[in-house]
Structures are given as structure tokens and as C-alpha cells.
Amino acid sequence: MRDVAIIGIGLSRWGEIWDASLRTLWTEAALAALDDAGLDHIDAITVGCMSPGLFIGQEHLGGLLADELGMAGVPATRVESACASGGVALRTAFAEVAAGLADVVLATGVEKMTDVSGDECTAALAAAADAEVEVFPGATFPALYAMMARAHMARHGTTREQLAAVAVKNHRHGSLNPHAQFRQQISVADVLASAKVAEPLNILDCSPITDGAAAVVLADLATAKRLAKGRPIVRIAGVGQASDRMALQSRRDMTTLPATTAAGERAFKMAGKAPVDIQLAEVHDCFTIAEIVVLEALGLCPAGQGGLQAESGRTALGGALPVNPSGGLKSKGHPVGATGVAQAVEIVTQLRGAAGPRQVPGARVGLTQNMGGTGASTVVHILEVAS
């Protein structure tokens, strides 16, 4: 298996982008990544997108987007794993390069979410849960995570304020990120006073609805060195993916994320690293409780102590383990299919030392964790500066 590096990164505009379609957003990100890499050709394209069919009535994104980029001819494939679609697109591209099927692959993620009403958006996202077992009786994603939160609070004594602390921290980080959708700082009191969505979660516990795209260019290490332009080369040191029982009710312990644990273990093993080696992480904080349980699942904090991490400042910029320096899904935005790729964009930016006011000093090893549904799909990447 060949070593693989990320040699180009790009983001489209993120937010409620009323004047841009899916194809426009995607092309913005793809062009930015190609320009960053200094390339005008690629061998293949992967596209992570959760539900273009429900959001804009468009399937077959591989063909559509290769054509938009003027690259009709290259193999182009959409991959889907709900909100982990972007991370899985990255892993798929990694596998192609590592296997020698291609030397340079454009791994992308995109979602256009604001062309449907709020109700339709809720319903489209709910399609990532079990349609018969969970959605039919009326479950929503906030409600499923809220039930995880309730279980975590009962089992570990996690407090409502500790949930809020995750959102407060991520908004503070996002305020330093010119690319974030919501850059205002918020307080614990703001979160507690915000509108109820699915008790105990309020609107400020939830990541927003976002239009956006992200892209990275992957290349084998030899190609990467040739195109380095003097910048640090960021290598994908470890990749892990795992699945779990689909419905939350099937998980014996609803305060854990076994797929995240398994994906993390696989990535750590491949990278020859342990949680203690991780200097910063971009994790899937689709809801505040998610960041808490993900940190526990990855071994980045002890089981049951996820609630203390943001509250104590450990996971804030300046803390021992900054988590979601980009602002995370909560503040930066969550165009679901794009998120997994955007997490890698942030870690590469940090490892290049180019993150400006939100830079984690001396960052050399970072982790991304991207999950779909209530955790039935998780993909973890460990990135490091190649020596």
C-alpha cells in the first residue's frame, strides 16, 4: 500500500447560499483544491453527498460534477454514508491512491440543503435513521441524539450546562474562522434559553442547515513531494471505518458509539499512534452531546467524562487537546455530505500552520471523526506532517 498525502484543499462558500446551486458550490470547492495543489488534471473524483435526491431531486452526481469541472472522462463516483458521506469519499479516494489505481484523486463532499423547506429538510435528514423503526413513529435526528443525551445524563451525571459548554466553545472557535457560518460568540445562558428542539436539546445545541462543499486533492507521496512548493506535506497516516447497529434502540448502551471506537482503533493501529499522540481533532459535533460521546468513544477522554472536556477548557483552543478549532459543525456549519472532507481541510490547514488566529501551535498530528446517523457509520482519519 502506497503512502498518501493531501496536496490541495478547498472550500466553497458556506452558509445559506441562495445564489448558488449544488453544482456551483461543488465546483467552487473543487477549483480551490486544484488551484491549491497546482494541478490541472486528476485521475478520479469521489463525491460524498448524503441526499441530493431528496434535497434537489438530482442523483448521479459523479457524472454531473465531472462534467461541470470540464473533466468528463475521469472515473467519478458518488459515495453515501449519510452525514459520514464526506469522510467515506475521502477514504475511498485514499484507497484508490494507496492501491495504485490512481495517482491523483479529487475527494469531495457537498450538500445543498436550503432549496427545501425546514420540514422537508428535517425529513430528508431523518432518512439517515431507520425508516421503519425510527422515522415512521416520528423520530427526528435531534430527538435521537437527545435520547442519547438523556441516557448520558442519567448514567454519567452529565449536566445540561456541560452540553451547552460544547456549543459555547465551538462558537468561540468559529468566531476566529472567516469561513464559519455562525461567527457570533454565545454563552451557556444563551444555549439554555434558546428554543427547544428535542428536549433536552435546544436549537443552540444543534448544528445548522448549511449549503457548502469541500474538496481535497490526494496524491501518492512521490507525487506529493514533487508538488510540495515548500509547504509541509500532510500525510494520511491512518484510516478507519466501522459500522454499527442502525437503530439507536439496538445499541445495548446508548451512551456509547461502538463504531467510532472501532474506526478509531483501526486508524490508530494503522498510524502506529495512540489517542495521547493526537494534538487536535475535528469531530462530528452535529449536536453538543455528539462531541461528548465521540471524545469518549475515541479514547480522547475517559468514559463518562466527555461532559467535563469543554467545560474545563481542555478541548478549547489553548487547552491540552483543542477539539473543533474550525468551529465544528455547530459554528462552521454542517452541509452534511461536505463535512467529512471539510474536517480534513481544517486539519491540513492547521498542520500547515496556516490557521491564523485559531492556529494550534506546533500541530503535527490531527484527527478527524465523521459519522452518519446515530453512529451506524463512522470514519476516522489521522493526518500528520510527513517527516
Binding site: 428535517t122 415512521f136 413513529p137 435531534p142 435520547m147 439496538s250
Partner: protein, 132 residues
């Protein structure tokens, strides 16, 4: 695509109307709804079993922002209920004061309307929990 396509709705009747489930002949794990492979042991032989309608709340939420299919019902309580015998269901808790819901609260499943396909389409029935 409608979740209330008539054929799709009708094929769920055994589970939704009668709480029919499948007990794995090899390991005894109960799958609800019934399936072809036991998720616990990959057994492929099952015996039919009917779930008890009695159970208790494992965790719950009160939904204030609902999907289109349930938006006029908000706020409504959703729970994961463990039934006597160990099977779990995700269902609403009907006829309840949200402030009274607790983990461990005893509930009983009752036959209710779950969704309807507009004013002219099929009505989908199933079970909701009510305080026991």
C-alpha cells in the same frame, strides 16, 4: 417515494399491528421486526413470538420541531421502550404530561394512528406507549 405507499405499509402489519417478532432458535435473541439474520449470532432460523405490550422507558425526548409527517402533533414525546422480555421499540408516548416522564416509567403499548398520507391517502396504524 412515500413512506405510506400501500404495499409498504401493509407488509409491516404483523409487526405494527400485532407486535409479532422473531426469536432466534440459536441464541434466543428477539428481533423486532422479524428479519432473516439474527444480529446477535447470525442465526437464520427463528420462531415467531409476540411481544408483551408492557414495558418501561429507557430514554426519551420531547420533540418540539417535528418532521412534516408529525408537525401538527408537537410537542410530542418519543421514547425507546424496553418491553417485558427485553425487546425494544422506538415509539411515541401518548396521553402523557411530558413533565411526568421518567427513565424507568412503566408504559403500555396501545393501538394508535401513527401517520396518514394526507386527507385522501392511507392511514398507517401502529402502537404508541401510554402511561401504564
Amino acid at each position: 417515494m412515500s413512506p405510506l405507499n400501500p404495499a409498504r405499509t401493509a407488509r409491516e402489519y404483523p409487526a405494527r399491528y400485532r407486535l409479532e417478532a422473531a426469536r432466534c432458535d440459536a441464541c434466543g435473541a428477539v428481533s423486532y421486526p422479524a428479519r432473516l439474520v439474527c444480529p446477535a449470532c447470525r442465526g437464520r432460523k427463528f420462531s415467531p413470538v409476540t411481544l408483551s405490550p408492557e414495558g418501561q422507558v429507557l430514554t426519551w425526548s420531547v420533540i418540539h420541531v417535528g418532521p412534516s409527517s408529525h408537525k401538527h402533533e408537537v410537542p410530542y414525546a418519543l421514547a425507546i421502550v424496553e418491553l417485558t422480555g427485553g425487546a425494544r421499540v422506538t415509539c411515541q408516548i401518548a396521553d402523557v404530561d411530558p413533565a411526568a416522564i421518567r427513565i424507568g416509567m412503566p408504559v403500555r403499548l396501545e393501538f394508535r394512528r401513527i401517520q396518514e398520507d394526507g386527507e385522501a391517502g392511507v392511514i398507517a396504524y401502529g402502537h404508541k406507549a401510554v402511561p401504564a
